[in-house]
Amino acid sequence: MIPQAVLNEWYPVAMIALVGPRPGRQTQLLGSDIAVFLEDGQIVVQGAKGQRLAVTLRYGHVWACPGTPAHDLFPIPEADQPGRRLVDCGVVRVKCSPLRAVENFLDIAHFPFVHTDVLGAEPHTEVGRYEVQIREDSDEVWATKVHFYQPQAAKSAAGGIVTEYMYRVAAPTAAVLYKTCPNQPDAWDVIGIFVQPLTEEFCEVWPWMALFDDTTPQADLIQFQQMIFLQDRSILENQIPRLLPLDPGKEIPTQADLTSIAYRRWLKRKGLTYGAQMVAA
């Protein structure tokens, strides 16, 4: 039985630009078959029994809710900010819990080892103290004042700089990061990860960006994001167990994992346990 709280959330199921007529995109959501297609100029998400799911079109993607939406889809105000370029990066399938994919996105300590010489490099492995809160008003997890040494923050930057990040869990399987933008010190680059839970142990991931960058060719921006995510994929497919453990058991966090701890606690509190392991094993 899938908890009602899980069914009442929004999940990404397709990239708007790629949706075509029937049969359209045949895929899965929470273990059930769904189809995403165009009908009379409208995007439809249809369940296995022919039922139509609630749909929201936002941030380049089709979002569906298999139950009764508990709330509107989360806002990303930057998506409407003039001058930002919105980039859809396509889909990548990963053999892991959708929650593991989100947790990895919230993590910085792996940069020097998994994104070596791009987002981090030894010996600059330290994760400083940062702030984490579960914001009651928006019901989101936020991590702020996250600092990390980045060897090559931008093509132009000679040597490394300390980059600041903010992380935000906006939905059980969607997170957004804000990163200081080397070209524009007062603005943040915004990068999202939208995860479609196919099953508890299988997901499809849609990276998305909203950047101040008029010059870099689209293909380069997409490739950069795909490169980063595909470096993570070989990690995600090799974590044991495949489900995300919500009980403190065999996985030991440290101070650098405060965001992950808050995410797990938030999921548990809200009963968003699809893709989670409840009893440590």
């Binding site: 300590a109 492995t125 994760v127 453990p245 996985e251 966090p253 992950s260």
Partner: protein, 203 residues
């Protein structure tokens, strides 16, 4: 106390500073050799966030996890957490350690505290390890004339002794082969034996 010893590969396939995946019964393992030659076998699961340690890297006498670089000494205890360079890791952070020994070129693993009790493979030279996608019964069928003594099947190939140390992994069987004859000949014979055993599965 004694647990069963399971062959997990050949010494020649695990040089200094290398880690590989192994198994004991149902448990998946990371087996590695330090720069000084010390062998270790651990549960293949990093205590931090569950990453397989067999994907990690060996520096000197430590194995580091590929995900966040946590380093573990040969006793399994975490010695360094790169995200907190100044912190001494708590003693509770420890890989689950198995016993690991090698004899006559074969690497063996058992639960910690097991008495060492290994078959006699003296006088034989290691050839290679192969993995057969078949059960033990099909493998036995493909080895006419071989005699089974526990985990070791002994027989002859063109007058030279051959010993096959068998690691049963349920749906597949890993075979660590040793012999006195020409290694190329034994290796090619193994390729044929595998095909024969797997045809047994298809039949």
């Amino acid at each position: 106390m004694s647990g069963m010893w399971v062959a997990n590969g050949l010494s020649q396939d695990l040089p200094l500073g290398v880690v590989m995946a192994g198994a004991w019964q149902g448990a998946e393992l990371a087996i590695w050799r330090s720069a000084s030659g010390r062998l270790s076998a651990w549960n293949d699961r990093c205590p931090h966030r569950g990453m397989r340690l067999s994907h990690g890297f060996v520096r000197g006498e430590t194995l580091s996890c590929i995900y966040h670089g946590w380093a573990y000494g040969t006793d399994g205890a975490c010695s360094k957490i790169p995200a907190h360079p100044a912190m001494v890791p708590p003693a509770a952070i420890k890989a689950e350690v198995y016993q690991c020994v090698e004899a006559e070129g074969v690497i063996w693993v058992a639960p910690a505290g097991s008495d060492v009790d290994l078959p006699d493979l003296s006088g034989l030279a290691a050839v290679r390890s192969v993995t057969v996608q078949a059960g033990l019964a099909e493998v036995a069928h493909a080895l006419p004339g071989f005699v089974c003594e526990g985990a070791v099947w002994r027989g002859q190939l063109d007058g030279a002794a051959v010993a096959l140390v068998v690691q049963d992994r349920g749906a597949l069987v890993r075979i660590h082969a040793l012999g006195t004859g020409d290694r190329v000949k034994v290796s090619r014979w193994l390729d044929g034996m595998m095909r024969l055993a797997e045809q047994g599965v298809l039949a």
